[in-house]
Amino acid sequence: EPEVTQTPSHQVTQMGQEVILRCVPISNHLYFYWYRQILGQKVEFLVSFYNNEISEKSEIFDDQFSVERPDGSNFTLKIRSTKLEDSAMYFCASRGRGSGNTIYFGEGSWLTVV
């Protein structure tokens, strides 16, 4: 089965620090996503990315968040100044072109802000 890989698997950071979460989507996929899941809660959509630009974002995805695809393979989520409430599991996902394609999720990156 194809695989989305994420690094780091777990990161602890001080409040106010910048964090970059990295993802390698499945090659030849065209749509990329970030989701987050606060412990014990539902999985929330953050942002989708297509054709080198953000295609949709949620109200959670404010100015402290940014995404980029710097080299055609990695897809990163940057949190500029972390807050305690950013502590969550962050999932990256990707899917192919068109409406008939499965979305695949990575194993997630646990972020703990202290």
């Binding site: 394609n101 979305i103 695949y104």
Partner: protein, 107 residues
């Protein structure tokens, strides 16, 4: 935006029992998937099923797109089936998760 409602929120079964999980959508969706989140937090893809019926072993799913709902059937449940089952649906740019059904299968 699309709302996804799942029921029941919690389900406790004895090993060997069958169950049906339901997902309702507030609007039509082009993409619909079922996932199992295991105790380690991994999201395991079960079915991509925007319409029709699929089966994979003890699991099967049916989506009635015209009535905006999907059902996941688990037969002869095992303790390893425990976890949270999520229904996810939407368009290409945004897929929305339901709140999930937490399944506990007791030996």
């Amino acid at each position: 935006g699309i709302q996804v409602e799942q029921s029941p929120p919690d389900l406790i079964l004895q090993e060997g029992a069958n169950s049906t999980l339901r997902c309702n959508f507030s609007d039509s969706v082009n993409n619909l998937q079922w996932f199992h989140q295991n105790p380690w937090g991994q999201l395991i893809n079960l079915f991509y099923i925007p319409s029709g019926t699929k089966q994979n072993g003890r699991l099967s799913a049916t989506t009635v797109a015209t009535e905006r709902y999907s059902l996941l059937y688990i037969s002869s449940s095992q303790t390893t089936d425990s976890g949270v089952y999520f229904c996810v649906g939407g368009g290409s740019e945004k897929l929305v998760f339901g709140k999930g059904t937490k399944l506990t299968v007791n030996p």
